[in-house]
């Protein structure tokens, strides 16, 4: 593949008298004898590819998939997502109407929506004032009078249920390199929150405070501070123990630090300012709703490169798990969403858990999140407990990624770039499925968060995508 080229020094004319360093593929005996000579050897843990999986290199029209992927990851890494402002969903998200509700994951009708998505939709309809009670909201949702659409169809992403309703404030992220924009709501915090499917007065009260106090305060501050570079912020957070999906403590702190002076200068009301700072400080995941649209803004420019087999979308709606490829961005490949291997909040167990849900896997798709687990030893317990387990998790993801990130690096791996550009060919050849970090929602509407954990993406959607790539 083009990312490694034959260094001239290895050519035969230059090779004699260079120290030999061996890669062994096959009999361990041969690796052992090289080792006994005191020479470096890497013994590959080789396994045969699954039956019927050819090595795909070119499309039928002769496009090199490697070259297409190289261009795709070049664009992904070149993207410079900046916070340029905030706005209300109905005003800024393209295609948003007063009766549109966006949700996470691939397209889904009300009838097939999972509990937390339904709960979030019901809560959003009440919050919007379209109905008075959750029961009426369910009836309205089922009436066909509400247009449901994936966030991803509107350059947006949403954590967990990912519900965006017209009057919700959203971050506006602009990719300074390519000019595209991405959108995401503001993070509500943990527990009984809309994105985990909860509704009720506590939820509406918080959403209203966010719209009435948090949003204008932040909007003023961003207007004052000017664009804030999220690629740089994610890169720093990765050096401070975040993987920017299940851990956002450092990112949240960095954001607050970046906004601090502008907040102080634009918010004359000290108590209001204190409330805003307290809210952000009290929510370790506040930055998630920025790392996600940053990922989205970076990924979109790679869409539509013919022959590119890397993923630009990986998202779940709590019922289905869907992926889209850079080379065919209009098409979803879906499979049933998996169950999360989780750790639970007091009083909850796996029996309460909804299947995997949310657009937050945009982080893994863009080369951080679960793929940068080695950067976040503090949450290593999700993947086995030790820092070494966290490193192993990231090392494994290199196997299925086309490239290593130029700007996102991992100190514990000698500042190696994070794995980026999930290649459906490599997933299929190796049988290694993407590792995802995620929160866990209660399966019933109206309850909220019950835990967090990890899982693998389902193989079936990758198999389907690979089949499609075969006929490109």
């Amino acid at each position: 593949m083009p990312e490694v080229t034959n260094s001239p020094s290895n050519r035969l004319s230059e090779f004699f008298d260079k120290p030999v360093a061996v890669v062994n593929v096959g009999l361990p005996l041969f690796a052992e004898s090289v080792r006994r000579q005191g020479l470096p050897v890497v013994d590959v843990d080789w396994r045969p590819p699954p039956e019927g999986v050819p090595r795909l290199t070119h499309t039928k029209t002769g496009i090199s998939m490697d070259e297409a992927n190289a261009e795709a990851v070049r664009r992904i890494m070149a993207g410079r997502p900046m916070i340029v402002g905030l706005g209300l969903a109905r005003d800024v998200i393209p295609g948003m109407t007063d009766r549109t509700i966006l949700h996470a994951g691939p397209p889904i009708a009300w009838e097939r929506m999972c509990g937390p998505t339904r709960g979030a939709v019901m809560g959003a309809l009440v919050y919007e004032g379209l109905t008075a009670t959750p029961e009426e909201a369910a009836a309205l949702a089922a009436s066909g009078d509400i247009a449901f659409d994936p966030c991803h169809h509107h350059h947006a992403v949403g954590p967990m249920a990912g519900v965006v309703s017209p009057s919700m404030p959203v971050w506006i992220i602009e990719n300074a390199e390519f000019g595209n924009r991405a959108y995401c709501t503001l993070n509500e915090g943990l527990g009984k929150v809309l994105r985990y499917g909860a509704y009720g007065d506590e939820v509406y009260r918080r959403l209203r405070w966010m719209a009435d106090v948090l949003y204008p305060t932040l909007a003023d501050a961003v207007a004052k501070s000017g664009p804030i570079d999220l690629r740089a912020m994610i890169a720093q957070a990765l050096h401070m123990g975040d993987e920017c999906h299940n851990r956002n403590r450092a990112g949240t702190a960095l954001l607050l630090r970046a906004l601090g002076p502008a907040l102080a200068r634009t918010c004359a009301d000290g108590e209001r300012l204190a409330q805003v700072i307290e809210f952000i400080d009290g929510n370790d995941h506040f930055f998630l709703n920025l790392s996600m649209p940053a990922g989205k803004a970076m990924l979109e420019p790679a869409e539509g490169i013919p022959g590119a087999t890397v993923l630009t979308v990986m998202a779940r709606n709590g019922t289905d798990f869907g992926i889209r490829l850079a080379g065919d961005p209009g098409r979803w490949f879906v499979a049933p969403a998996g169950m999360v291997e989780g750790l639970y909040l007091p009083g909850f167990t796996a029996a309460d858990a909804n299947p995997d849900i949310g657009d937050s896997t945009v982080t893994e798709t863009a080369g951080f999140g679960g793929f940068a687990m080695a950067a976040a030893p503090a949450i290593a317990r999700f993947v086995g407990g030790t820092a070494q387990d966290a490193i192993s998790a990231t090392l494994e993801m290199y196997e299925i990624c086309f490239a290593e990130h130029q700007f996102f690096t991992i100190p514990a791996l000698e500042f190696r770039g994070t794995p980026v550009g999930i290649d459906v060919r490599l997933v299929t050849e190796t049988g290694i499925l993407p590792r995802l970090n995620t929160g866990i929602a209660h399966k019933e509407p109206g309850i909220g968060m019950v835990g967090a954990g990890v899982l693998r993406a389902p193989g079936a959607c990758f198999a389907a995508a690979f089949e499609a790539v075969k006929s490109w």
């Binding site: 004699f16 096959g26 000579q37 396994r47 527990g191 317990r381 030790t386 090392l395 190796t430």
Partner: protein
Amino acid sequence: MAVRYFIKASQYFDSVALMNATRDVQALPGIEDAALVMGTEANKRLLARVAPLTPEAQATSSTDLVMMVKGDGAALDQALAMAEALLTKQPGQTAMAGKRRPRTLRSAVREHPDSNVAVISVAGMYAAAEARSALDRGLHVLLFSDNVSLEDEIALKRRAVEDDLLLMGPGAGTAILNGAALGFANVVPRGPVGIVSAAGTGLQEVSTLLAKQGVGISQGIGVGGRDLSDAVGGMMMLHALEALQADPATTVIVAISKLPSPAVVDKVLARLDAGDKPAVVIFMSAEPVLPSPAGDKVYPAATLHEAALAAATLAHGGDGSTVKAQLADRMRGLQIRAKALAARLSTEQKYVRGLFSGGTLCEEAMRLWGERLGDVWSNAPFKPEFKLPDSNRSRQHCALDLGEEEFTVGRPHPMIDNDLRIRRLLQEARDPHVAVIQMDIVLGYGAHPDPAGELAPAILRAGELAADHGGDLLVVTALTGADGDPQNLARQSAALAAAGALVMGSNADASQLTALIVTVDS
């Protein structure tokens, strides 16, 4: 059902650690529910849903640890103790020891960008794809795997030549690159002789015979048994020869092949002729292929031993003219020895049997025997009419290549595992017509760690079996090995000699002696 709270003030734990410990405590017998949380307001609200908070629990803050267990009264204390133990436990050593190995060649090279040689020995149907992947990354390839199609071999070699890389194989067992022994290879000193071989054990034999004369090698490049066929056209041998001709560390070149195509032989000779370094060639088939005219710079050898003698002479600045005299001297010595040995045989004992682990060594023996004994039966004969109808039963003069697939399906190669050869040795020893059994014993990396340790007792037992029917069985062995080999050449040799075997310095000497023993009086 009882509930117990336990508070540890000012002890902070990460929430993931706490959830993890909670899960383990919940799994204890007699425990219905458990929670380990920091005493934040949100957590206390959640706890209260499960069990009413005690006043102490109610009073905690976000820096205090709250442990709650609910279940059988008797189980609670144990559960609390376990919860504490889980939180204070140090990660075990085992977790660190389990270092991950890369799953693909691609990621191995990414993690170790200095890698420059891939040794590939996966099943043939996957081997070409792995080799291509290695070439894509600029690695030289030792392709040990068999059953790679001719089309793949040609495509891979064409690609390698274009990129100035080595594609050694398929079916290449041996390479010594920049002093590193790869696959089945011996620990020989570095020196001026560069070897390119389309016969793996041929490369081992010549490099160890050179080492025995104190001459080292610069490079030992195996190219696979089909390289000098018409179809492949000697692509890799020609490429490697060109590299050795340009290599300042190489002053003498040796080219080895069995059953080459005459057209390719011509190309190889032309390439050697075009260079300015003296060369030795050995092309083995039923008759020695002695190219003529070979050109001034090329010494045509008839045996691997002769090739090594000639290369050593050339490396010392000689012109090769003394080699024939050396060989004649050796032959006289062998004849004297053979005469003495033949006297030990009964009149019934008249046949020779060869039990070989190296295909090239088997062919060399068959050819040398053939000069004195006429046609030789084999499972891999030169002439199809002398193919054994049943490889498990020897006939007359008979040489077996035990490394052939018919013997190795489902069991290790005889260079790695001695069982097959020992069973066959005992079988041959029971045949009263057998006079001499010849065996090659290949040492070095990849080979069995102590072949003589297993073969010597079997040789003794074979002698006893022969004695049962009144014969004095002669066992002639040749050790292909070097002083530096992990098996210890001297010890191997001593163990074989102690068992009564004749230990010869080369496969050619062993083969000549074997044939002479049964013909010396006739």
